[in-house]
Each structure stands twice: as C-alpha cells, then as structure tokens.
C-alpha cells in the first residue's frame, strides 16, 4: 500500500538520510572518541516525522470498544489506516529508525480514546514495564497519592525517556488499570540510561509523586496494545528486510573461489528461503492491519503477526551476518546494527513466547 504519506516518508528516508538514521541512536563504546552529535540528528529526524504528520493517533473505526472501554471513534485522524501505519513502520524498520515515534502514536491512540489530543509535538514515551521479564500486556504497579494525586511508579526499559516531553505511564493500581501522562522533566522524575546490547536509548525511570497532566482509566490498553503490536510487526518486517537487502547485495558482490558467493547454492537457497519468509510475515502483518481497519478484534491476529515478525527478524539478522562473514561484524558495517536491534525490538511489545501464550485463550474461543 503506497499512500501519499508512505511515499513522502520514503522520499524523506532517502539513502543518505537512512545511513544517518541507522546510527543516530547508536552509541558505540570502544571508539567513542567523536563528539556525540546524534541527539541533534535525532531532533532533526523527529521534526521531519512530525512534519510528515506521522505523530497523530491511528483511526479507530471500530466504534466503542467491545470490552466496554468505550472511547468515541476518532473521526478526523490525521493518519490513514492501520494498514498505512504498518507500511510506515516497515519503512522505519528498514531504516532502523529509533526514536519515540511508535510510542507516541500509541500514546496518541490512548489519549484519543479519552477524547484528548497529544500535548504538543514533543513526543511521548510509554512507561509500562516494572521489570524486563514482564509482558507489556501486564503493566507494572503504579500508585496514585490519595492527597496530591502524584504518581509513584518504577519503570524499566523506557525508550528515549530523556528526549520526550511526556511519559505515559501504563500501570496497575488497586482500582485496576490506569493511565497517567506525566511531564518528563519534573524534579520527581529520575532517569538512568541502561547499558545494553542495542546501545540505544533505554532508561530506568522512577516517579516519586509526579503530578499527572492527564489521567484515565486504563482498560483500553489491551486494544491499544493490539494495534501497537501490528505497527511493531511492521517495524520488525522492515528491520528484517533491511538486513536481507544488505545480505543479498553482499552475496552478489563478494567474490570467493573466483565467483560471487551468491552463486553458491548454500548461500542462494538460504536467501531465497528467507525471502519467502519475509513475504509471508509482511502479508500476515498487513492482513492483521486490514482487520484492524475493519474494526475487528485484532488481539489474536496482532500477536500472531508480531511473533512471526520477531522470530524472522532474529533469524534474518543472524543469517545476514553469516553471509557477510567477519566484515559484517565490524562497526563500520551496518549489518551488526540490525543484529543488535533485533534483540530488543523482538521483545519490545512482548516476546514471541509471551505473545503466543497470551492469545492462546483467544484461539480456543474461536473454536467454540
């Protein structure tokens, strides 16, 4: 599906900018001698994405949610449909984009369900997990101070927490699920950057009585999470495609034993096989997105396509490194960036094992 916005994004992410985007959130450690101008590049990219109108909420053509969380449909969404969003996140994944866009879209979705707009263009980071093993379907504990209304919560693996204006805390309180939008630069917010494999921007965040600028019942989270998972699946399909494209190009170019290594069946057949898996995961994702556009309950379809895309992304990035030989491991090359990011992105909205376990009851229901 190519809409004006998808097309505009494709033009924006031209090869030169893509090369920059792939490394804009990457902090190589050993050779860290150069000045870190990446925050400036990230800010520029963010402005570009805002300018393309990508930060609005997805449409909710479903009407009042079946689970009774009942937000009004958003009639005037600036973004097309879920299918378009999946195509957009696929392009972002291929460019290995890292930043608060996907979180911001999900936040916009949750705010829109409550009849609110995003508070400005500063971006929102989702703060969901209390620990790294938890599924985002099971948000961490959150308490609301009965007198001040301040939010208390500890969250780990919050993306780009230092570069957004707001955090949207998704939490479980004694009174059930709850959402709270808090300003990130409030003195009660402390942030520590994780040292991790992706060398990106993941933070440990503590809120000690932070005033919420908006707060709402959180029962819409599971449906918002379902469509966020379709976007994440799109991102992972794109990530896999980015790694695949590098591997195919290298197989055509790299000569060993007097011919391009792509002439060897061991390489060619493996890449051919992966190309089919890539198509399959992509179609599965777009299919789930179309279900969402039809207003269907997409929790099962979303989990299925995300699990498939996550499994593929890890396999693809590993295989891409194998095709590249040692040269793909070197920092100068992009192949290893895909491998690093796949580790985090494949777990980001639930690992494949978690996703499958979570939706198993829905599959049983279908059989009834």
């Amino acid at each position: 599906m190519t809409t004006t916005r998808v097309h505009a994004l494709a033009e924006f992410l031209d090869p030169d900018l893509t090369a920059m985007v792939r490394r804009m959130a990457y902090r190589p450690r050993p050779d860290n001698g150069s000045a870190d101008d990446n925050p400036a590049i990230r800010a520029m990219i963010w402005q570009g994405l805002v300018g393309l109108g990508l930060t609005g909420p997805p449409p909710d053509t479903a009407g009042p949610a079946a689970d009774g969380a009942g937000p009004a449909p958003v009639a005037d969404s600036p973004v097309g449909g879920h299918e378009e969003l999946a195509a957009i996140t696929e392009r972002l994944g291929a460019a290995l984009y890292q930043g608060p866009l996907l979180d911001t879209v999900t936040a916009a979705d949750l705010l829109a369900r409550g009849g609110r707009d995003l508070p400005g263009d500063g971006g929102v980071a989702l703060a969901v997990r209390a620990d790294g093993a938890a599924s985002p379907a099971d948000p961490g504990a959150m308490t609301v101070d009965p007198t001040t209304g301040g939010i208390h919560a500890e969250r780990r693996f919050v993306g780009f927490a230092t570069e957004v204006d707001h955090l949207l805390v998704v939490g479980t309180t004694d009174d059930g699920p709850r959402l709270a939008l808090v300003p990130r630069d409030h003195p009660t917010v402390t942030v520590r950057r994780h040292e991790e494999l992706g060398q990106g921007e993941l933070h440990h965040v503590r809120l000690a009585g932070t005033p919420a600028v908006w707060s709402a019942d959180g029962s819409g989270w599971s449906r918002a999470l379902a469509t966020a998972r379709i976007r994440q699946a799109g991102y992972l399909v794109g990530l896999a495609r980015g790694a695949f494209d590098l591997a195919v190009a290298y197989a055509r170019e790299r000569q060993q034993f007097g011919q391009p290594i792509g002439r060897f069946q061991a390489i060619a057949f493996r890449l051919a096989e992966l190309s089919v898996h890539l198509d399959a995961a992509r179609l599965l994702t777009l299919d789930a997105a179309r279900d969402a556009d039809q207003g269907r309950d997409t929790r099962l379809a979303a989990a299925r396509c995300l699990a498939a895309a996550a499994d593929l992304a890890r396999t693809m990035t590993t295989e891409a490194l194998q095709v590249h030989g040692a040269s793909g491991l070197v920092n100068d090359h992009d192949a290893h960036l895909f491998h690093r990011r796949a580790a985090i992105e494949s777990l980001w909205l639930g690992s494949p094992t978690q996703l499958r376990a979570e939706v198993l009851p829905l599959l049983r229901e279908q059989l009834r």
């Binding site: 994780h194 991790e196 194998q322 040692a326 920092n331």
Partner: protein, 385 residues
C-alpha cells in the same frame, strides 16, 4: 565423552580449585567490567596455570607441559570457560599456534617458542585473512620478497586477527612463489610482531575484543622462521585449521550460557511454564550432544586418528547450537538479558548479552559453517563430487 580416569578427575578438581581462588575470581570479574576499548590480555591466572604446566598439559615437560594428553588440555579449556576466564588468548596461543609449532615446527622452533606460551608469558596470533580473502584462503596476496641474505621481507595486509596487539609473534600465511597455481607457493612464517615494520589498526566490532588490521611493511623473517616447508604451506594450513576444530571451547560456552538461562528460568518460574520448558529441555539435549561431538574429536586426537569429517561436523554443530541458544536466550531472561556487564542490573555479569554478540562470529571464525558442511558433504558423504 570419554570415561575420565580418576587422575583426570583429580586434575579437573585441581584446576577448578585454582580458578575458584578469590584473587582469580576477582580478576575475572574485573575483566568483564573493563572500560570500553580495553580487553583482557595475558592474565595473571594464565601464568599461575602455566607455572604448574597446566596451560598446555598435553605438551612435553621440556616445553612447559605435563606430558599428558589432549584430554587434560580439553579439561583445562572446559574449566577456564566454566569459570568465565577469558580464553581467546589462551586458545590462540596454545590450542592453535602452539599446537601447530609442536606438530610442524623444528626442534629449535619448539625450544624457542613453546615454553613461553606454555608458561603464559608470551602469546601468539594468527594472520591468515586479508581484505577480500576469507574462506578462499589460497587467493591470499601478502607476499614474501627474498632479502638476498637467506631471509625474506613480508609485505601485505592481514585483517580480522584477534589479540594481535598483545601477541609476541604470529603465524602468517604468505605467498613466496607465484606460479599461477593457487595452492602452490604459500609459506607459513612465524613473524615477530614487536617490530617497526608491523603496524596495527583496531577494527572495533560487535564483540568487546577488537579485531586487528595488520600491515606488514617489510618485516624480516629468516629461514628459522619458516613453519613447515617453503612453498608447501597450503597442506599445513589445512591441517593447521583442522587442529582447533574439536569444539570443546564452544560447547563449554554453550553449557555455561544454558546453565545461566536455566537458573534465570527457574527463578522467574518460567521453567514451570511449558511454553518455555519444552524448548529449554530440547536445548539441554542439544548442548549435551554438542559436548559429546566435541569430545569425540578429542578422543580421535588422543588415539592418533584425527578425523576431518567428525571435526568439521563438531565445529558446525557446537557453534550453530551456541548461536541458536544465544539468540533465543533473551526470550527466556526477558529484556534484562540485553543488559551488558556494565549495567548494575545485568543478570549473571551480562553473559547473555555477551553470548548474543559473540555467537555470530563463531560460525565464521576458523572455517565457516558452509565450509564445514562442505567437508561433511564431500569427504563424509561423497556428495558434490
């Protein structure tokens, strides 16, 4: 797995006891938290193993070993890895270069080079790959020019070399004669590295250990530095690369990672969840099988009948199993597994992160998985011929 003799069990316990000493444990922990750009070199624990003859127990006593067998050597490798001691320098110096000198070197070369390696006082590297030259090593371009004095001067560029910045010397594959026949005219040289004609540039990469880009700009080697026969290095190279292919080291790494993952899974209750438990159980079988395939190669060596097909099969299997486990491990540990050793919250000193980054290189180094399968298919199954 061979049935270990009581002496071998006792030897393993002694090695384990040394590696469990407090100062060794502290030194190992320090290695994991080195600042970026620094990496472990010759550790004091190597010297302590070396003074007992334990770094290279399979070498003769006169060269710093115990005169024992490859079984004892493999026991040391397993224990080093099980205790988290960085093993790259040891593997390169003793298992690869040292073993090649022991097998193909002259008595003078053995006497000159092996004792230092066995004592953990010197280390060695390998200079094989070049830009554009990897699996197809016979197309290498680094050349040796006779210096008119019975020696040669070496010119060329070698890449993806490990621990070279710490090494005293390296084994380099160099073209001495260019007849147009690729497999003739290659010579292996023992090249001094602490030399003005050798320059090194780090190649930072996915792992913590840099790879090194080495330029040889006229470094001199003499007849005494030739390993094997002049121009007949190709056969030696092939035997040389097969030597290290027992896979004992990678199998031990897989076991260590699996133990960590299992402990994490038990602590978080995931071991009781069939969604995780069935896969974990399958992985315990595969890691066990990897160790058995690796030890079969050790047994072959001890019995004096090295088997290329079995060693290629083992190398392929253990590295592929390790990679599969390493890529899946964050699934079992959750996002905490992606934290590296420098993050205070990293489980088990960040070994899940380290394995994820190390695994892709293991199916490439010292013979890619594709080359291993080629050996199994051609020599083992008489296919593709």
């Amino acid at each position: 797995m061979p049935l270990f003799t009581p002496e071998q069990d006792k030897f393993r316990a002694e090695v384990c006891a040394l590696l469990c000493e407090e100062d060794v444990v502290e030194a190992v922990a320090r290695c994991r938290r080195l600042p970026g750009g620094e990496e472990p070199e010759l550790l004091d624990v190597y010297r302590r193993l070396g003074e007992r003859g334990w770094l290279a127990p399979n070498w003769p006593v006169e060269y710093g070993g115990l005169g024992a067998t490859m079984v004892e050597k493999a026991i040391v490798t397993e224990e080093l890895i099980r205790h988290g001691v960085p093993d790259v320098t040891h593997g390169l110096s003793v298992d690869i270069v040292g073993l090649a000198i022991a097998l193909f070197g002259t008595d003078a070369q053995r006497a000159r080079l092996l004792p230092g390696l066995a004592r953990g006082e010197t280390s060695a590297a390998v200079l094989f790959s070049e830009p554009g030259v990897g699996s197809d090593l016979s197309s290498l371009r680094t050349r040796a020019e006779p210096d008119g004095d019975g020696g040669w001067r070496l010119f060329g560029r070698k890449i993806f070399s490990m621990k070279t910045q710490f090494a005293d010397f390296a084994v380099a594959a160099v073209r001495t004669t260019d007849t147009g026949v690729k497999y003739h005219g290659i010579t292996l040289f023992l090249v001094p590295l602490r030399n003005f004609a050798v320059t090194m540039r780090p190649m930072w990469n996915l792992t913590e250990d840099r790879m090194v880009d080495v330029t040889l700009d006229g470094v001199r080697v003499g007849a005494e530095d030739v390993l094997g026969e002049v121009d007949e290095g190709w056969q030696t190279v092939n035997r040389f690369l097969g030597l290290e292919r027992t896979g004992v080291d990678t199998a031990a790494k897989a076991q260590r990672l699996l133990d960590t993952v299992l402990r994490q899974a038990a602590a978080t209750g995931r071991l009781d969840d069939p969604a995780y438990a069935h896969r974990l159980l399958d992985l315990t079988a595969r890691v066990r099988a990897a160790r058995l395939l690796a030890w079969r190669c050790v047994t072959n060596l001890v019995e004096g009948r090295p088997d290329d097909v079995q060693s290629s099969a083992a190398k392929w299997h253990v590295t592929e199993v390790f990679k599969e486990l390493a890529v899946l491990a964050p699934e079992f540990t959750g996002l905490d597994g992606v934290l590296d050793a420098r993050d205070a919250d990293a489980p088990a000193d960040g070994i899940v992160d380290a394995a994820y980054r190390e695994a892709p290189g293991l199916t490439l180094a010292a013979g890619t998985s594709q080359i291993m399968l080629y050996v199994v298919a051609t020599q083992g199954l008489e296919l593709l011929t």
